[in-house]
């Protein structure tokens, strides 16, 4: 890649930041060149982010319909999955899945709700609703 070919496409995913890439300068030497982004990177990053956002949206709709607990929505909103939430809270995966049941979730003791809230980085009151 030549220095003048380094993409400067202003990726939304970089939010105004520039990343360093290496490219050939006129003298044939490789140099570090700041880049405003390449559409290819934007496409694959948005793809991964949108996948997580879709999971959160689906969980949100199901939580509103009473089919899952707010916990599932907050988990995806924190870009986590059951595996990662399990590692973060130290709870078994099957227990977390059980807490996706709105009836079980409604009876959750404060200690467990605190544990989830801390892992997700939200206040404990926020855990109870999807709004």
């Amino acid at each position: 890649m030549l220095e003048r070919d380094v993409p400067q496409e202003g990726n939304s995913t970089l939010a105004g930041h520039r990343k360093a890439v290496y490219a050939l300068a006129e003298d044939g030497k490789l140099r570090r060149v700041p880049s405003r982004g390449w559409e290819v990177e934007e496409i694959v990053t948005r793809q991964a982010v949108e996948d997580l956002e879709q999971r959160a949206e689906s969980a949100l709709a199901r939580a509103r319909a009473g089919e899952t607990s707010p916990l599932e929505y907050h988990m995806y909103r924190a870009r986590m999955d059951v595996e990662l939430l399990s590692q973060t809270t130290g709870l078994w995966r099957w227990r977390i899945r059980r807490h996706f049941n709105p009836a079980v979730f409604a009876r959750l003791p404060l200690a467990l709700r605190r544990r989830y809230a801390a892992a997700l980085g939200i206040p404990v009151e926020a855990l109870d609703t999807v709004d």
Partner: protein
């Protein structure tokens, strides 16, 4: 507090951290030299490590390979500390900063507020340097950021003590004995030999064999669901190659820069021609990424077999390249 510390922008966090750390301790070393001397270039396809249901594809050696590699070959004195309690971990950081140390940290990316929101994933092996503290804010040199940044204490604590795969456990590190002036030809030769050994390793999943196995998997991606899963799968490969601070072309340009610099430092000109060849290979990786992205956005028909063909061609190119690098390295050794 280290008053003379200068932030430098880098493409990759770990080699950027080591470049700044060593430069600060009297051994000016570029990011490319840090990366190359630590033999950090690689390729690995690890189907049993899954992230959001997708296999791990990596273009470099595992996290901490650069730090540990440089520590060993430069006979540096370094101290690594992890902590059971976040409070102790933060107190120790403050203590080290007060004593004037430049401190490296392993953190999660997700909890760092200065990162662009779309790039905040739960990746736990990010590296950054802390060079001071003002009130409740840490002064941070994050190599992938263009300028020095600040981070509130509570956020940094969260990032240092994130859980999950590769959990940092508050890991911090600092230099206790500055590096000796290296014997560049010897270090360079050994570094090349190590990278050749990994790239041509006679084991599957690693090096050029890993590329060929990945090509086989890509060729067989199921398309029954309209290609949704196949698109996620190839998107993940491209993300690991281009988006996760690689300097472009899955670290190939960065490594080429190392070869050029090593040629300049040691006067072994054979490496210059090899650097030029590796740049061409890096360009071909970029073409692979472009083709994949066009298929993801359906600007081009989804054809996993065409991408697999490109991967196989790249494996062939890299196999020839690393054989020639091996020859150059042996000829250099005399």
């Amino acid at each position: 507090m280290p008053t003379t510390f200068a932030h430098a922008h880098a493409s990759h966090c770990e080699s950027g951290v080591m470049s700044s750390l060593l430069t600060h301790h009297g051994l000016p070393l570029s990011e490319a030299m840090a990366f190359g001397l630590a033999s950090a270039l690689s390729f690995a396809y690890l189907p049993f490590v899954r992230i959001n249901g997708l296999p791990l594809v990596s273009y470099r050696m595992p996290p901490r390979a650069v730090i540990r590699g440089l520590e060993r070959i430069l006979s540096l004195g370094m101290r690594f500390e992890t902590f059971g309690s976040p409070e102790r971990g933060m107190a120790r950081l403050d203590e080290l900063l007060d004593s004037g140390k430049l401190v490296g940290l392993q953190t999660s990316v997700f909890w760092l507020p200065y990162f662009p929101p779309d790039l905040r994933f739960h990746f736990n092996a990010h590296n950054l340097l802390v060079y001071g503290k003002e009130q409740e804010e840490y002064l941070i040199s994050d190599p992938v950021a263009e300028t020095a940044v600040r981070c509130a204490s509570a956020d940094l604590q969260r990032a240092r003590f994130a859980k999950g795969a590769l959990a940092p456990k508050g890991l911090l590190y600092y230099v206790t004995r500055p590096p000796a002036l290296p014997d560049w030809p010897q270090l360079g030769r050994r570094a090349l030999a190590r990278t050749v050994r990994v790239m041509l390793a006679p084991i599957p999943l690693v090096g050029v064999r890993g590329m060929r196995i990945l090509a086989g998997r890509v060729a067989r991606l199921p398309l029954e669901d309209g290609g949704t899963r196949a698109r996620m799968y190839i998107g993940n490969i491209v993300r690991m190659q281009e988006e996760i601070g690689t300097g472009g072309g899955g670290f190939r340009f960065l490594y080429a820069s190392f070869l050029q610099e090593l040629a300049g430092t040691t006067g072994y000109a054979a490496l210059d021609a090899l650097a030029a060849r590796l740049v061409e290979i890096g360009d071909r990786w970029r073409e692979f990424a472009l083709a994949a992205a066009r298929m993801i956005r359906a600007r081009e028909a989804l054809a996993p077999s065409a991408l697999a063909e490109r991967l196989r061609a790249l494996a062939g190119d890299e196999e020839r390249f690393f054989r020639d690098l091996d020859r150059a390295q042996r000829a250099w050794a005399r």
